[in-house]
Amino acid sequence: MSIAEFFSMGGYGFYVWGSYAACALAIAAEIVLVRARLSAARRVAGGREPSQ
């Protein structure tokens, strides 16, 4: 199987890679957002920033 064949997925590339890309993007975004939320919560709890 060549690289080009692998990416074309027998003509279903849009559907197959679209599914995998949607999952990868959503999970990456969730990791970034949750980490940001935790460090923000740490800053507030540590008293460096006032809550609200």
Partner: protein, 247 residues
């Protein structure tokens, strides 16, 4: 070992922090193995060609969407029965990830439906009940947001989550109870799987990866929630300052 010690947010926080890298690492290893089996090792499907490879993300996300809801409902029941703060926080931490997997199950399903059935969407029982699951997650989160007092928000949203749990068996059995466009279960506990072993292995590895990922992300989110809700307690400030000093 006294496990009830960990029912207090202050002692659960460091435990969650210690466990997270292990679950995250396990998720990465299982995902790498699952992707290898699913995208490279598994052969082309005789009927669907390469489009069937969507199964490896579709089934994992769809299973997690239902499973996370059941776990969330379990913590909601615990929070109502024992008036336990941490249980409510666990439910609160699971909801966004459950909603995410539900949305992904619907998106990957639509992308699989188009080449297979000729349509992105149909109002069949499986798809409609999965869409209702997404709205249940949204409703749970919106209700929490709408109530200022956290303990009242815990109780009201727990009740909503428990009532909504009836939807999960409806989703699961929809392909049996109704004539759906969606196919029946490929894997069941009572009969032999109807697919090749390598496909099944890839699917199960991806499901395990999603499972470990959900634990890791929920443990991280619950730490943020604990600090947000307990920030007036002395220990929360100490945890935050210790984390700062460690960096």
């Amino acid at each position: 070992m006294n496990w009830f010690r960990f029912a207090s947010p202050a002692s659960f926080y460091p435990l969650a922090a210690r466990l997270t890298p292990w679950f995250g690492g396990a998720a990465a290893v299982f995902a790498a193995a699952g992707l290898y089996l699913g995208l490279i090792a598994a052969p082309t499907d005789a009927q669907q060609g390469e489009s069937y490879r969507i199964i490896f993300v579709h089934v994992a996300t769809a299973w997690m969407s239902m499973f996370i809801y059941l776990v969330m409902a379990f913590w909601c029941a615990m929070s109502l029965m024992f008036n336990a703060r941490l249980a409510a926080m666990m439910a609160q931490a699971l909801a966004p990830t459950g909603a995410l997997f539900t949305a992904l199950a619907l998106i990957t399903g639509a992308l699989w439906g188009k080449p297979t059935w000729g349509t992105y969407w149909a109002w069949d029982a499986r798809m409609t009940s999965e869409l209702i699951l997404l709205f249940l997650y949204f409703g749970y989160m919106a209700l929490r947001q709408a109530i200022d007092e956290p303990r009242r928000a815990d109780r009201a949203s727990a009740l909503l989550a428990l009532v909504g749990a009836v939807n999960v068996p409806i989703i699961y059995f929809s392909v049996k109870w109704w004539n759906t466009l969606h196919q029946g279960a490929s894997v069941s506990l009572t009969s032999a799987p109807t697919m090749a072993a390598v496909m099944l292995a890839g699917m199960l590895l991806m499901a395990l990866a999603a499972w470990f990922y959900s634990i890791a992300i929920a443990l991280t989110r619950v730490r943020a929630i604990i600090l947000e809700r307990e920030r007036h307690a002395g220990w929360a400030g100490e945890v935050a300052l210790a984390a700062k000093a460690a960096r």
